[in-house]
């Protein structure tokens, strides 16, 4: 036993104070490995906005620890690895992530950025916010890919209109031709019928004359026919 128990305790305490002091020095505005976060809760939720307090901050640190775990699988990030400072009434603050293996060493900016990008939607939904209302200054959100249908919708409407107009023109052009042809056919039929009736009438008068009445003089009826004109 080189050191007594009291001296051991002192050393442990000193180390603890040092590490926490170091940790506080790690998190400050414009830290090289830190990011600024800004929340616009009232803008997103209006009347249903919740109040930002230490419990919400705890949730944030836990969510961020989850994001780091998700990205760097194997490393057990704890809530204590997420250091937060410079809170303002705007609801903005800076944070920095320290490695679970060494509390004095901050995790690189690129790793943090990748982790947040990967789990952005999970972080957003934990706070009922969106990419625009929960801002990580410096991390640009990836916008949703535009939905492009196979046939653009305007072409469909165009097709419908063009089709109906085309049909209209064809009807307008073809109808009178068809109408005329039908009329001509009708007229021809009527003409044939009339001619047919006249012939039967003429035949009848001849027969009447021939069968006849004894009173009728056959030769006269013949003459009558001719003079009928």
């Amino acid at each position: 036993m080189l050191y007594s128990q009291g001296e051991m305790l002192e050393k442990i305490l000193l180390l603890f104070c040092l590490s926490s002091a170091l940790a506080e020095n790690l998190c400050r505005p414009d830290a090289s490995n830190g990011y600024k976060v800004r929340l616009s809760i009232k803008r997103a939720l209006g009347d249903e906005a919740y109040v930002w307090n230490q419990d919400e901050m705890f949730l944030f640190r836990a969510t961020l620890a989850f994001a780091m775990r998700n990205h760097l699988s194997g490393q057990d990030f704890q809530v204590s690895n997420i250091l937060v400072c410079d809170e303002t009434p705007r609801v903005s603050f800076w944070f920095i992530v320290t490695s679970p293996l060494d509390a004095t060493r901050p995790v690189g900016k690129e790793d943090v950025e990748e982790a947040i990008r990967k789990s952005r939607s999970r972080i957003n939904s934990a706070f009922l916010l969106t990419d625009q209302t929960l801002e990580f200054i410096g991390i640009i959100p990836t916008l949703a890919a535009p939905v492009s249908p196979d046939t653009p919708p305007w072409l469909i409407v165009f097709g419908v209109v063009m089709g109906s107009v085309g049909a209209g023109i064809i009807v307008l052009l073809v109808y009178p031709v068809v109408h005329k042809r039908l009329k001509k056919d009708e007229e021809e039929e009527e003409l044939e019928e009339e001619e047919g009736e006249e012939e039967t009438r003429r035949v009848k008068t001849m027969e009447n004359g021939a069968a006849g009445d004894g009173a009728h003089n056959l030769s006269f009826t013949d003459d009558e026919r001719f003079t009928q004109m």
């Binding site: 800004r38 616009s40 809760i41 009232k42 803008r43 303002t88 009434p89 705007r90 609801v91 903005s92 640009i140 990836t142 916008l143 949703a144 890919a145 535009p146 919708p153 305007w154 072409l155 409407v157 165009f158 209109v161 063009m162 107009v165 085309g166 209209g168 023109i169 307008l172 052009l173």
Partner: protein
Amino acid sequence: MGQDARPNWDSPMQFVLACVSYAVGLGNVWRFPYLCQMHGGGGFLIPYLIMLFLEGVPLFYLELAIGQKMSLGSIGAWTAISPYLGGVGLASVVTSLYLCLYYNIINAWSFWYLFHSFQSVLPWAECPINSNRTGPTEECEKATPTQYFFYRETLNIAPSIEENGGIHGGQALCLLLAWVITYLFIVRGVKSTGKVVYFTATFPYAVLLIYLVRGITLHGAINGVKFMFTPNMEHLADPNTWINAATQIFFSLGLGFGSLIAFASYNHYNNNFERQAIVVSLINSGTSIFASIVTFSIYGFKATVNYESCLERTRVLLLNTFNIAEDNINIDNVFEWIEKLNTTYPEQFAKLNNKLEECDLETELSSAVEGAGLAFIVYSEAIKNMPLPQLWSVLYFLMLLMLGMGSMLGNVTAIITPLRDFKVMSHMSSELFNGLVCVFCLLLGLGFTTTSGNYWFTIFNDYGATFSLLFIVLIEVITVSYIYGLKRFEKDIEDMLGHRPNWYWKIMWSITSPLLLIFLFIIYIVKYINGGTPTYQAWNKELGTSVVTEYPVFGQLFIGLLLVSSISCVPLTALYVFCKKRKLGNHEKREHTVSTVSA
């Protein structure tokens, strides 16, 4: 003869509606409100109404009288009035041809916007995302989404008139549709046109009424209407106000194209066109005023929305820079906070200065736009902010279509009617002839769908019809008053109507209108000479805004060609007729001498 009797309108109502449909066009919606705003709001109505009675109604009456009396299209009618002046009719036909070529492009744009309204998010409401998916496309970010949609996606516009790309496929399809529908409307001449105008003349009023109600109930609309109607009488002292009032009446009624002569030529000989002339002119001006109320309520709404988003952006900027809690600053006290923060944190505030925008409602309201920019950019911007934008968008572009197609009816009739009066053309069936005219105009119009097409469109729009019309109508009114003779004209009208025109009409035709037209004509010439090289607005992709550019040499030559080609018809035809008569005269003299010798 080989030609059936001239077709007639089924009823005088059809004729009136056709004239209304033709005269009430896009200019009533997109030029008159602009003029009102530029020349002192409500005060502009005074010169406008004065000009209506000094030149609008008399000239309208004149054209209807000529058409109804001669029962021929413009070429035939003017040749009948004075053989040397048949060129006036020819100039009208040439000008109408130019108009037909470019006017249907506007209808094509209306179709394009109409078809694009059938989407859950209107395509001009948001910028498309760039390929990295980090933000909106650069061009769209510098300009606004509505401007981007018009210049990039609708026109795919080139940076200047000299650079040319290919034809825009979608535009070409829409132009094809516009011409097919035009053909459908005119395929049987007045028999089909007469039925169509019942719809094209009345539908725009229904939409305007709906929009009036919607517009007035919009947030901030009252700012716009107040702005427009506060009369600013000092503009009456500016001669430009009166000149613009005169030209607006003139062009708005569609005089000089030959459409009115063509429409009137299908009337029965004793139709009472005097009353109809007054009615149509009044309806036309009334519609302009009505449309400007709607436009100004939309302006007011758009200006208020822009002003409030400007305030919101300023609010967020202040909140973020000074880390103040969110509900301390709201839209009402933004300006107070700016003052407070300026005094408490001057250095920090100074750093903000270049990011801080000037938010002013007056500036927003006085940014006046006219023409296609108003119809397709400003209006669509306002529509995207309305609740249920798809419905309003469909209604609005349908209205633009009705206005445009109605005017196209008159334009195409002005070409077809005089040409069919020639014996050569009358042997063809009317369907085939009308189809040929439409196909011809379609093929030439495809040039306007290319990437630099919009700049050519502007050339036609600014120079194709303006100057030549003044010249044509001036010659018309001088011919009727002095060459044909006012007494003969009076007798013709008495023949048709049963009474002579009273002193008002005679004074207007012989003195006032010619003087006014000569005055306007001189002003135009002076403006052309003093204006220097003509310029146009070229869309600059990098800046995201329009830049004033001079026309290149071939552009200026083309402008000159446009002007000369229609005006020169008059002297050239007179020369041709003169030469033909002299040859005939010589021929007769020779025959005469031969016969005396042989006798």
